[in-house]
């Protein structure tokens, strides 16, 4: 359970990639990974291609990130969720709130 972070050279794009389980235990480290990004218009990508499980607190964390991105007039994009993770996003109807790229 780790979060990897890549910041593009112009710092306009931050990619957080989550391995294995995305749940409450990542709360603090997920938050730490973006709170210091204060660049306007930043796009936050959440790469879920290596995430095997996600719970509702993970959905909550994504909403907090969205709040942060909104403040910077930025955006949140969810990348490549696996089938089981996608199902959870679908039940929560997250495609109505942000972009999900399969």
């Amino acid at each position: 359970m780790t979060i990897k972070k890549y910041v593009s050279e112009n710092k306009k794009e931050v990619t957080l990639s989550i391995e294995e389980r995305f749940d409450f235990s990542l709360h603090q480290s997920f938050r730490n990974s973006y709170v210091n990004c204060e660049q306007q218009n930043t796009v936050f990508n959440i790469d879920l291609s290596n995430t095997s499980y996600m719970d509702s607190s993970a959905l909550g964390m994504i909403l907090l990130l969205k709040d942060h991105a909104d403040k910077l007039q930025g955006n949140v994009v969810i990348l490549k969720p696996s089938d089981s993770v996608n199902k959870i996003l679908e039940i929560a109807q997250f495609h109505r709130l942000m972009t999900i790229e399969n």
Binding site: S57, L59, G60, D67, E90, I91, A92, Q93, F94
Partner: protein, 573 residues
């Protein structure tokens, strides 16, 4: 908390060493550090003293008569589970093996002689720091546990205990060890229909149940006042949005069962599919989530609407939280929808769906600890209104008394005229019911009045103002078609009106009566067939089940102005 620990004046230390001399030396050093010290000269005595005094620190020799230090340590550590009293080996055996064995026996550190008093004191301080930290974590854990217990008690004792119809609605609730905030609410609307909510708050413990109290109040009060389910959902969403932090929300499915209309209305916002099962366990409908959970968005999505389904009296609506679908077994497989559906088929046949499902999930997951709350609600689709109307008896003899009363004039009147756009946005029925209750207090007869008012108002709006033909509703798809057309026309509505009037008459001999008059701007209709249907046309032509119901409930019903005005009189003895 740290201060509190520091203040505890004399900590206890236990020194276990067969050399009286060593005991003396260590005692002096410990006393200089503020400890009170007990000593024991062999392992057995050491264990006894440990049990007796529950010291905060143990110093242990290795070679001792009767029982050596390793064995004494194993026993002490097994006694002190969940309560870290650090144990340090003090020895002159300077070998790797001694070090490894000491740690394996449960020791928290080892100090090899000879050492200076300063080194000894430093060691004690460092180990004490760790144990203080441990005690803090322990305390936090306990307070968290208390919060979780409080939250659980709130949910089940205070909130859910007030649920309606529990003798007929099957509810399963099995909390995970880590309480996670599933909530089940049921309430009856004034006309006997039931509203049901299955919800799952994000997160754990008290944090997840903050929203439960306002949620249950809103749900219950609005249902009782006769607000439509959609209005309740809208209100709950707004309320939770303003109340909860961004990462806290409520995934929920809402159901309204109207057994009179043989219809259910469902809104799934963030829970797994819910189901309508037929009497033989077949899945008639699977209703997917179509909306983000409550409290995520400030306003419901523009296209949000209740899904409407026709049901048979023996159908069941079944709601499940993700805890059941996502339950895992030893191999890490999920219980999943397929197993759920198969078990449900069995459950319906045995007429005990809730229990069969839970047994099946338990068998599947065996002794794997639950990750999430599991809950399920099984709602039968029939006979909800029965209890409300059974005690009503027709009282034609009161009619003549009504006419006499009417001549003396009403004790009070209340009028409301809604026009154009307001008709599309406002539901006047809760307002009217509120007025009635404010003036006359509450009582059981309001349930009948609510039904009369609702049916007549809906007729005036739908058939009068919106000019909808109720024969569209005759087939199952027709129902949905009807509601779609209704929404379309409401959206475009700019003119037209509905006027509601109440006249309340008091009487000395009876409790009085009320006259409800509703006028609409429509073209009217040939009402003679409805009020006194010719024999040949009885029953089937009455797609207006509503009027039929009103006829049974009130003492008189009269249409006038070509059918654009209707007046219902209702009296209670």
């Amino acid at each position: 908390m740290v201060e509190e620990l520091d203040k505890r004046s004399h900590k206890l230390a236990l020194v276990v060493d067969d050399s009286v001399m060593q005991c003396k030396v260590l005692s002096v050093l410990l006393e200089e550090e503020g400890y009170r010290v007990y000593t024991a000269n062999d392992g057995i005595r050491g264990v006894d003293m440990y049990i007796k005094y529950q010291p905060d620190l143990v110093l242990m020799d290795i070679n001792m008569p009767r029982m050596d230090g390793y064995e004494a340590t194993r026993q002490i550590k097994s006694l002190s589970k969940g309560n870290l009293a650090p144990l340090i080996f003090i020895t002159s055996i300077d070998t790797e093996l001694a070090y490894i064995e000491s740690i394996e026996a449960g020791g928290d550190g080892i100090l090899v002689r000879p050492f200076s008093p300063e080194v000894f004191k430093a060691k004690i301080k460092s180990i004490q720091r760790i144990s203080d930290l441990y005690a803090q974590v322990k305390m936090l854990q306990q307070s968290q546990q208390k919060d979780a217990e409080l939250a659980e008690q709130l949910m089940s004792g205070v909130i859910e205990a007030r649920n309606f119809g529990l003798d007929r609605i099957g509810i399963v609730k099995k909390a995970a060890t880590l309480f996670s905030g599933d909530i089940q609410l049921t309430a009856q609307s004034p006309n006997g229909d039931v509203n049901v909510l299955l919800g799952d708050f994000t997160g754990h413990g008290l944090r997840s149940s903050i929203g439960a109290i306002p949620l249950s109040e809103t749900f219950r009060v609005m249902t009782k006042k006769g607000f439509s389910l959609f209005e309740i959902i809208t209100q709950i969403n707004t309320q939770l949005f303003h109340l909860l932090p961004s990462d806290l929300f409520l995934a929920a499915t809402f159901v309204h069962v109207s057994s009179q209309d043989k219809t259910v209305y469902i809104f799934n916002a963030g829970l797994p599919d819910c189901y309508i099962f037929s009497a033989n366990g077949q899945i008639k409908q699977r209703i997917r989530s179509t909306h983000p959970p409550m409290g995520v968005l400030e306003y419901l999505l523009a296209e949000s609407k209740l899904e409407i389904y026709s049901v048979q009296p023996k159908d069941h609506v079944v709601l499940v939280s993700d805890g059941i679908i996502e339950a895992r077994n030893k191999k890490g497989e999920m219980y999943g929808e397929k197993r759920f559906e198969q078990a449900a088929l069995k459950g319906v046949k045995k007429a005990n769906l809730a229990e069969v499902i839970i047994e099946d999930v338990n068998e599947f997951s065996q002794n794997i600890p639950q990750e999430d709350d599991m809950s399920l609600i099984d709602i039968p689709c029939c006979d909800w209104q029965g209890q409300v109307y059974n005690n009503y008896q027709s009282r034609s003899d009161t009619l003549s008394a009504l006419d006499v009363l009417s001549q003396t004039g009403p004790a009070w009147e209340w009028h409301l005229k809604l026009t154009g756009e307001k008709l599309a946005k406002i539901n006047p029925i809760p307002m009217a019911m509120n007025q009635l209750q404010n003036i006359e207090g509450s009582g059981e007869h309001w349930q009948s009045l609510y039904t009369i008012l609702t049916e007549l108002y809906v007729n005036a709006l739908d058939h009068g103002v919106l000019n909808l033909d109720s024969s569209i509703k005759d087939c199952a798809e027709g129902f949905a078609d009807y509601f779609r057309k209704r929404e379309e026309r409401l959206e475009l509505l700019l003119e037209g009106f509905v006027e509601l009037s109440f006249y309340y008459y008091y009487s000395h001999s009876t409790n009085g009566h009320i006259s409800i008059k509703i006028k609409d701007s429509g073209k009217g209709f040939s009402y003679a067939d409805y009020v006194n249907p010719p024999l040949s046309k009885q029953a089937p032509i009455l797609s207006g089940r509503g009027i039929n119901l009103v006829l049974q409930l009130c003492d008189s019903l009269e249409y006038s102005d070509k059918g654009t005005t209707v007046e219902a009189k209702y009296a209670w003895a």
